[in-house]
Subunit: 329 residues, 2 copies
């Protein structure tokens, strides 16, 4: 126990009174396997070998959620932070260069935070394949990340990395960033959606801030339970519900913020960006207020896909926080 006197001594900006740090798993189901041959495993050096039965009941398709609850949150609603593809909640923690990330920023700003690992990633765990998952995992190489995440235009076969001259990504810490990578499967979207929906049911009303691949899950969760969603912040969303198959009218009044960075060149990003504007326009026509920020149009240049890791990430977070203060009540 820390005494009250110590607690009250000159709190600085990076200090906040925490009620609880905790976590839970949610969603998923039990899968039973049988007919597989036995294995023998030594769990620790020197420990006796144990014959194990690979058959039995296993959990699959659950997700992991970690929260930090403040004693006196200044924000009315908690902030759920949903990561993108091939990544985990670590996206929002300390940045690859060691500076505080968006989790820390929004805790300082007075939000309870819920940082999660989607089904199959990180602490959510994956399930065995082909016995349970129908496909094999895909691992993202450093080269693919460098170019796809728009840190720079090229990454040679010799490992030579060329960054955009105005890049805001901390390129010297790129190898620290790539240690955060986890593999992904392309066959688990339905289960992932169900788990996210279960998180919303449990935790919200709330604000959902989602990145890249996570955004499509957020848009669908919003459509599943619009009354639970107080605001949506889509950071470089890469996928969207099919406008022919959803009713955006039920999102009337829910404020939406879209933010995109710089260097949206090439067919992939041009199409993603056009899709985002099309979805935003449809939201707006359905009376769901939309703020769409293309950072370069505001004179903010050089941002990568990993906005929350760029060296001006606090500036972008401040835009998000200011917008939330103005648009949630």
């Amino acid at each position: 126990m820390i005494g009250a006197a110590a607690l009250c001594a000159q709190p600085a900006s990076a200090q906040y009174l925490v009620k609880e740090v905790g976590s839970f798993h949610i969603g998923g189901r039990t899968v039973t396997l049988d007919g597989l041959p036995a294995r023998t495993i030594v769990f620790s050096p020197g420990s006796p070998p144990v014959k194990v039965d690979p058959n039995g009941e296993f959990d699959a398709y659950q997700m992991y959620v970690q929260y930090v609850k403040l004693e006196r949150p200044a924000a009315k609603y908690p902030l759920l932070l949903w990561h993108g593809g091939g990544l985990t909640g670590v996206t929002f923690e300390t940045k690859p260069d060691g500076r505080p990330g968006w989790q820390q920023y929004f805790l300082n700003a007075g939000y309870d935070t819920y940082v999660s690992d989607a089904v199959e990633r990180g602490r959510a765990s994956f399930a065995q394949y082909p016995e349970i998952y129908s496909s094999a995992p895909f691992f993202r190489s450093k080269r693919e990340a460098w170019v796809l995440f728009r840190i720079g235009p090229s990454y040679g076969n010799d490992g030579q990395r060329v960054a955009y001259p105005d890049s805001r990504f901390p390129a010297a810490s790129f190898d620290q960033f790539t240690k955060q990578f986890v593999p992904r499967w392309s066959s688990n979207d339905d289960a992932t959606q169900q788990a996210y929906n279960a998180e919303v049911d449990k935790v919200c009303p709330c604000i959902v801030l989602m990145h890249s691949q996570g955004a499509n899950f957020g848009f669908n969760a919003e459509l599943a339970t619009p009354q639970k969603i107080k605001a949506i912040v889509a950071i470089e969303p890469s996928g969207f519900p099919d406008l022919h198959h959803v009713d955006l009218q039920k999102l009337k009044g829910i404020p939406h913020l879209f933010i995109f960075g710089d260097h949206l060149v090439g067919p992939f990003w041009e199409k993603v960006h056009a899709n985002a504007h099309r979805y935003a326009q449809a939201l707006s026509e359905a009376s769901a207020p939309v703020t769409f920020i293309d950072l370069p149009a505001r004179g903010i240049h050089g941002n990568s896909h990993m906005l929350m890791m760029d060296d001006n990430s606090d500036q972008v977070a401040a835009i998000v926080d200011g917008w939330l203060r103005a648009n949630t009540r």
Copy 2:
């Protein structure tokens, strides 16, 4: 920002002033793959298909460490919490029944905490096999966990779970516990040890509290850098350095606490328990002070292998905290 007045309003026992919540990955190396055929993947529904090259540079063998640093820690040294086999740092977070776990307990007690995921587990991620890892993962079934973790003597083919009559494990939350499981490999011990040693180099001086399979890594880290280790807490350690190949004399003066629960029946647990007493005896002979607690001998009955999740886990944590206060300076 939360005002100082709010921060100082009647702090209760589950409140502490946090300086920073953060994380880092440490250890590991880059592995280069080539010669594998290309794949095409749709990353999000509706997003354009992307042709991906499975070749390139990948990170492998790093581990993940998450910390909560208090503004004014009452304890002189941070507490590193190392999980056991088939699990992650979630072991020490909120318990399966929703009550606070040991991370929360020791934060309340004034320790900075470092909760990690070992190489291959959780947010540390795993690397592809057979291309990088040499073996396939092993998944623990519910049945194996029920019996191996000594929640009860039997788990029938019909899923019927029989708990020990005096079991302290929250059996009604067993299915929540099993959602925490992650697979393990038996081929990564050297890399795991290197990553743990790197964590100690970066974070310590410190206290290491380790569970089950994690204990062998802790004993070896201690031998690698004894000057960094202020105390060792071994919760049901399952593996030990080979006494013929290590010099325990260098651990002179480092205090060690061993704790075991109940129902240590059958050849596996009888051998583990005997090995623990043998290692403790050798430490003691090398002038490393040892406290060995068999909880039943103190009248505390029914504890499972997951002491930090049992319904008397706070009682066990209080024993650890009291011992640390008396034995570290």
